[in-house]
Symmetry: C4
Subunit: 222 residues, 4 copies
């Protein structure tokens, strides 16, 4: 006999898992200030997304710091005045509605912010030939070139979410694992929270490698 | 019925909160040696400021490592020989007397010290276009340019405190969130300790982004 | 009377020791994503190598996340479907079969990845004149030049393992402590786990020194 | 009535304090591999110096990992085969015999190693104008220039110890707080362990500031 968790248990467990991610990502410098949002699909039919509320300190999240949204981004929990979704929640909804996406993590690291600016004119950051790429789900060889798009930052999140939805619906291959927002941060996702966290970790590692390599190649050929 | 904390309880709780900030900031490399001071307004009328005593190791503060000052910076607690305010306490008093300031944090990080020197001739560090700026209280868009003043370092703290007081009284917009002292460190404040800590965290993040971006742009255009 | 640990106890203790290495190396940024493998010789006759299974998160290894291989790299434990050796396990077997090798650690750090690319055309990284080199077993003076080979990365691990075996059998002096794989990471080993861990730690320290020195020498002579 | 600690208690307490320093300095990256030695004067008359034994992992020191030396560097404890003083212990003895020195700490950090090489031709590293300098005992203003000598590394420690002793006896002002060994590391000391640890922490902070400033000034003027 399998024990089936009730929706309430499931939501509480999901919140606890995201609290742990928050404490870890804050410690690693990826979720400082009130930056970052994390979300988990807790039900597919009907669509339910548990997501961090707006403006929370990610180093000390509690179960009260989350809201539940439907497929239109409407808050459907019995909410009090304190916990509201942030505007960026719509980007999580747009992403998590895709088949095969179970968790979406948004982070603001030093290296992501820096590289999103340095390669902004190119429209994308290219990551090529690293063994670490094999940690992204489905990549089987280091002999791979990953294109991570850099999207202009905006406060008009609704329009951006609509654009992303159209591209997701068209299965745009540029949006397989994540994207960068210019001078803002990284969005990455996965089938479940463990995979989304791993994808964040891998991109952060590769950002630092690319940043340091660029500085050293400058130093060496000078 | 609301339980009202006694002034002694309030002071002890405030000291405990600042001890925790000290342990965290030392770990993050922002309060090494005997550097840094932290203060909290424990009463507005009469004005009472709880502040770290001079020369304490911030990694292991205890309740005995604080003094209480009045609005003139005079020590009003029953002090022993050990705990004395540092000269810089006057900068905390001058800042905390402002309406709306509940906590003042002063830190000495590598990046703050480095950028305060690099941009010293400009008189200020400009931070522009970063999403992380929205973590500063009142900033609603990344499309913002924050001017963080760089003030010459001095051992004549009394004179500097008087200058700051005049500028605070005139509501100088350059002194909204904090300032840098040249080759010395950062002062930042907030309505309460959580906001002051968040402002420090956000500035430190942005300092590192600016530093690394500058190095990388040099590397890229070489 | 000496208490002899049973093979099962020995294997469990070895797994616990490698779990601790995983937690530490993940925290230090050397084993992110699903990267890295760690192995320990648990028996010399017959040859038995305990090694991390493929694709595990190194921050939270458990005893179930290991497999045992024989001298041909064949899995000899009662394995379930979940724990399989990774392709790279053959490099561990080839290395650990050498006399005097008791533990092999493979890590993917930012500095190892970066320097493996920067010095790829040279075929090796040279480390010379550092006191820290004396932490490598057998080096008695800082006046030493260590050559750490950089081998092309490949997904054909079996062929690479055969090449390494031939070089080990010929006692190639270039393969005394470890080697780098291009844009991939570091292999290092030792008589026992403590020595292998120390060798990793020393190489990682020296990589960072070399990287920063190179950047600073560029800055200074500009 | 004052409780006087017995010599054995004193030695055990001193060892415990140095074990804690080792765990902290390893975590901060200043005592990796088998590098570093720490010593404390446990008696002035007769002179007794407790010091880490040769080759110990500083992340997990125990009371058994120390030896006691007399003013000639002779081991005077009932030693077993395992715990022997390292050759460099003579530098600790030479330093600790000076009046006013109660603790000597030797560390190997990335920044100390890097700057000791970068400024080797100058014979010294100059540190000027930083507020953090005031954490060094006796410095009252940031308007100070500290000269930290860079001494050639050698395996002939006995000769180096003799040279240092002559300079200490002559009260050489260049040896007030510490010195660097080329491509090797930092020696610093203080009246007691807390002061020596603080001096190490302050130098390490300033090394990083100097290193990053040098890189950024290069980037800015390019």
């Amino acid at each position: 006999m399998t024990t089936v968790a009730s929706p309430i248990d499931r939501s509480a467990q999901s919140a606890d898992a995201l609290c742990a991610v928050g404490a870890e990502f804050h410690r690693r410098g990826w979720s400082l200030g009130t930056s970052s949002n994390y979300s988990l699909v807790t039900s597919r039919t009907p669509f339910r997304l548990l997501i961090t509320a707006s403006g929370m300190d990610k180093s000390s999240l509690t179960r009260a710091d989350f809201v539940t949204l439907d497929e239109h981004g409407q808050q459907i929990d019995n909410h009090d005045d304190r916990a509201k979704p942030s505007a960026e929640a719509m980007l999580h909804v747009a992403t998590a509605r895709r088949p095969g996406v179970g968790a979406v993590l948004h982070t603001h690291s030093v290296w992501a912010t820096t590289l999103s600016d340095l390669y902004h004119a190119d429209g994308a950051l290219f990551i090529e030939g690293y063994e670490m790429l094999k940690g992204l789900n489905g990549i089987k060889t280091h002999d791979h070139r990953e294109r991570l798009e850099i999207i202009d930052n905006t406060q008009d999140i609704r329009t951006l979410a609509q654009k992303l939805t159209r591209r997701f619906d068209a299965n745009d291959p540029a949006l397989t694992y994540g994207f960068l927002l210019h001078k803002h941060g990284l969005y990455a996702w996965g089938r479940d929270l463990a995979e989304a966290r791993r994808h964040i970790e891998i991109f952060e590692f590769l950002f630092e490698v690319i940043g340091r390599t660029l500085m050293l190649k400058g130093a060496r050929t000078r």
